[in-house]
Symmetry: C2
């Protein structure tokens, strides 16, 4: 039986590329990718037994945290992070135009457009820029009209059999996205542990206590990100990554003490991080 891997669709997205990269790493098994129209639906596919794993973006070095992933994980039951990996992001200008000057309109997701704004100002200063809901969405239209271009990945160009006119075109060369592989197996050991908590109170210093706890136990926090509780403006859930494994005694002590200073505490598991330098 195939291993079913859910991801954010449609075909041609960078999330599909990440899912395909993860599928490749499961060398001995047959795999099947399943695209969903939202990150939330892709993650919920595991609970609904439509998928064994879900590959989701967590954080991009330019765009920051992927809020739908964090919010859905906070709401979920039993999902654990099996593995993390980082992929370089390189944007490409995809078009059937025979030269740049033929392109009148460029479509892409607002994040991708903003990450290529200097390149666009230099090479395509007069084009009309149009926002789309994903980088893959405009690709079928690019296939039909040589006066338009799209900013997407080489993977997107390959999936739609479209020419790449320029690559890479992102203004910040160090553009990386970190992905998590979510699943239902227990994840108790690894380089990193991810957790999230809401605070007991909004009094001065309420956030300080959890952070002091990690520091006192010499546990490095590699990331902290706040998300709204969705109850009141100004009430937050904090997502924290620590450089420690849940099966270490120090981590267990930290987690026990953390219960005192938090209202709700969720553990998303311990896992290793792989950095993949392969770019299509």
């Amino acid at each position: 039986m195939s291993v079913l891997i859910a991801h954010l669709g449609p075909s041609g997205t960078f999330s599909e590329f990440a899912a395909a990269t993860y599928a490749d790493s499961l060398k001995t098994q047959s795999t099947e990718l399943k695209g969903y129209s939202t990150i939330t639906q892709a993650i919920n596919a595991i609970a609904q037994q439509e998928a064994d794993f879900c590959v989701v973006p967590v954080e991009n070095s330019i765009g920051g945290g992927v809020t739908f992933t964090l919010d859905t994980l906070w709401e979920s039951e039993k999902l654990q992070i099996q593995q993390a990996f980082t992929l370089p992001v390189q944007h490409a200008l995809i078009s059937k135009a025979s030269q740049l000057s033929e392109i009148k309109t460029v479509y892409s997701h607002p994040q991708a457009l903003s990450q290529c704004q200097r390149w666009l100002a230099e090479h395509l200063p007069n084009v009309n820029l149009v926002n789309t809901s994903s980088t893959a969405e405009p690709l079928p239209y690019v296939k039909e009209n040589s006066a338009v271009g799209a900013i997407a990945s080489n993977w997107g160009a390959k999936m739609y059999n479209l020419p790449v006119l320029a690559h890479p075109i992102n203004d910040y060369p160090d553009n990386y996205t970190r992905f998590w592989v979510l699943g239902q197996a227990a994840a108790t050991s690894g380089q990193y542990t991810s957790l999230a908590f809401s605070l007991n109170s909004n009094e001065p210093g309420a956030l300080l206590k959890p952070l002091q706890l990690f520091s006192a136990l010499n546990i490095n926090m590699s990331r902290i990100e706040s998300r709204p509780t969705k109850r009141l403006l100004g009430e937050y859930i904090f997502f924290v990554d620590i450089e420690a494994s849940a099966d270490e005694q120090t981590t267990q002590t930290a987690l026990e003490l953390l219960q005192i200073h938090t209202q709700k505490l969720k553990l998303f598991g311990s896992y290793n991080l792989t950095t993949i330098e392969k770019v299509l």
Copy 2:
């Protein structure tokens, strides 16, 4: 001469409504709203002397921080927060259909669709949901086709003279967005002070020191949000709001000491926050 107020366009967005609300509050002056296609362009309109003020969303109680606003402010020179205000967000189903069952497709921004998912599942379980780049974008199309609907604000319906079939339809009733009014005047006094900093190092506890400083001086931090530095995955800028005025002695002490623990520190000014309960 009119006071020129920049905002995220096109006509019908909630940001335009916020700018109009701010314009109304400047009772004695003539005002003119100017829509821009991105938040970054709207903010930069001040430096380019195309606008006197810019009204931008900062944070929503469901969606969280507005990353384009924070990133652009960090990159800007001399912009200060003149005022903050909070508006309730209520989503409406806008369509020319005579009844719900005629609607086959609903268009909206992914955040608005996700904020109405329970209502949609109950009242329109079989419609096709399509992402758009703003809530206002589909409104011209809704005007032409009675088989489609859009989720936007009553303000959007009013701007396009379209009927509202249901309102409010958001799953979380307590949905608020906070806006900042940016301008070039010095902002040294008010209930809140906003600032941002990058850290000297990524060593354990590097973030702890700035937070301990505020706590030791009994300054409450009402918000902390991390954004990537755009250099390396895992390097952050922290945006902090404190409940103190920049012209108080304690705040000045805190800011001086903060210089020691931060690499780059930017002060965005002190301002008052108004909560507006008026909904269209």
